[in-house]
């Protein structure tokens, strides 16, 4: 806390805000802030996970039936995409800390691109479902073709009541997650611009660290969404 940036009072680092004594103190504060934000995000999604839990515990048949409308291969693909993007985001923090400018831009760019891939896959999943009437809640009216695509054993079962609620949960949770991915893409764009300008280095890398932490949270949430919707 007491360490002074080189140069003392005379040369104040460019990105040191007025109310901080040192860049270390500023970094410590911004990391604390982002972790508190992550805590509130956990509860934000926590409520949706509760809704999921309530329906799963009381209406198990919905999940047994509706899960077959989802393609686990696309979910697994997206899981791999997001894990790789998380690796790349963690790597970008390393590059910033070591002052490797080209590596930083490259890893940030890779993360952004992978986030884009994730959303493209998601777009195909959504459009296929919406096209076939697999919509939320009361508006759920599956087309005959999509019902035919179900496995034999499932087709033999009666269609459970309020099947649309499964898709309500699916769209809400993956949708809110998707919004977070979009926000993350905007943040990475901003970081890339600043990285190219040469703003970041061993002394000042707080924003890279903060956005990477946010991105890992987005990844973590998907780690739960994938098995909950596509697998079990």
């Amino acid at each position: 806390m007491t360490s002074r940036p080189g140069g003392g009072e005379a040369a104040r680092p460019r990105f040191l805000a007025e109310h901080f004594e040192s860049l270390e103190a500023q970094l410590e504060t911004s990391t604390t802030g982002i972790w508190l934000f992550i805590a509130s995000e956990v509860l934000f999604f926590g409520a949706l996970f509760t809704a999921y839990g309530v329906w799963r515990a009381n209406h198990h048949q919905l999940f047994h039936y509706a899960q077959h409308f989802l393609d686990w291969r696309l979910g697994a693909l997206n899981t791999l995409v997001l894990i790789t993007s998380s690796l790349s985001a963690a790597w970008s923090v390393r590059c910033a800390q070591l002052g490797r400018k080209s590596g930083l831009t490259a890893t940030l760019g890779l993360t952004l691109a992978l986030a884009g891939v994730f959303l493209v896959v998601k777009y195909f999943e959504y459009s296929h479902k919406l096209h076939n009437g697999l919509t939320w809640g009361a508006s759920f009216h599956p087309s005959p073709e999509v019902l035919l695509s179900l496995p034999e054993a499932i087709r033999a079962l009666p269609v459970p009541e309020h099947l649309g609620t499964f898709f309500t949960l699916y769209y809400l949770m993956t949708g809110l997650h998707g919004i977070h991915v979009l926000v993350g893409m905007g943040l990475f764009l901003w970081l890339i611009r600043r990285a190219r300008r040469g703003d970041f280095g061993p002394g000042y890398y707080g924003p890279v660290d903060a956005v990477a932490l946010y991105w890992h949270l987005v990844d973590t949430i998907w780690i739960f969404l994938f098995p909950l919707f596509y697998l079990v």
Binding site: F45, F49, A57, H216, L231
Partner: protein, 124 residues
């Protein structure tokens, strides 16, 4: 105060003489990612087998393991001060509390809901 102390010890451990930040070694980054890939494969493989209720338990367990890996290494919680870990763990605990209490309660009153529905139908 504990935060800054932990921060300082991390700097000391990383071997930087100058006040340089602690950067994650490549080995840790790649190792974590590989473990995450492997666990994804495992969770898919397990879901292909029919274990009844254990499917859900296994899937959630593996997801929790993966999330812990991300938090500990990618989010460098392992190297941060204690306070960040407390914040994160507390938020998860409160979320689990919400899920557990509400799911418990709804399973308990479902019987009443069904009885009321039957009674309503009988009256009609």
């Amino acid at each position: 105060m504990t935060d800054s102390a932990a921060h300082a010890s991390v700097q000391a451990a990383s071997g930087h003489a100058a006040p340089g930040p602690h950067a994650l070694p490549v080995r840790v980054l790649l190792g974590t990612a590989l473990a995450l890939f492997a666990l994804t494969a495992v969770t898919v493989a397990i879901s292909r087998a029919d274990l009844g209720a254990w499917n859900a338990v296994a899937a959630l367990g593996i997801a929790a393991a993966k999330a812990s890996l991300v938090a500990l290494f990618f989010m460098h919680l392992k190297y941060q001060g204690r306070f960040k870990a407390v914040v994160f763990v507390a938020s998860v605990v409160f979320a689990v509390l919400l899920v557990a209490f509400v799911v418990f309660d709804t399973t308990q009153y479902q019987a009443d809901v069904r009885a009321a529905a039957r009674a309503g139908a009988a009256r009609r």
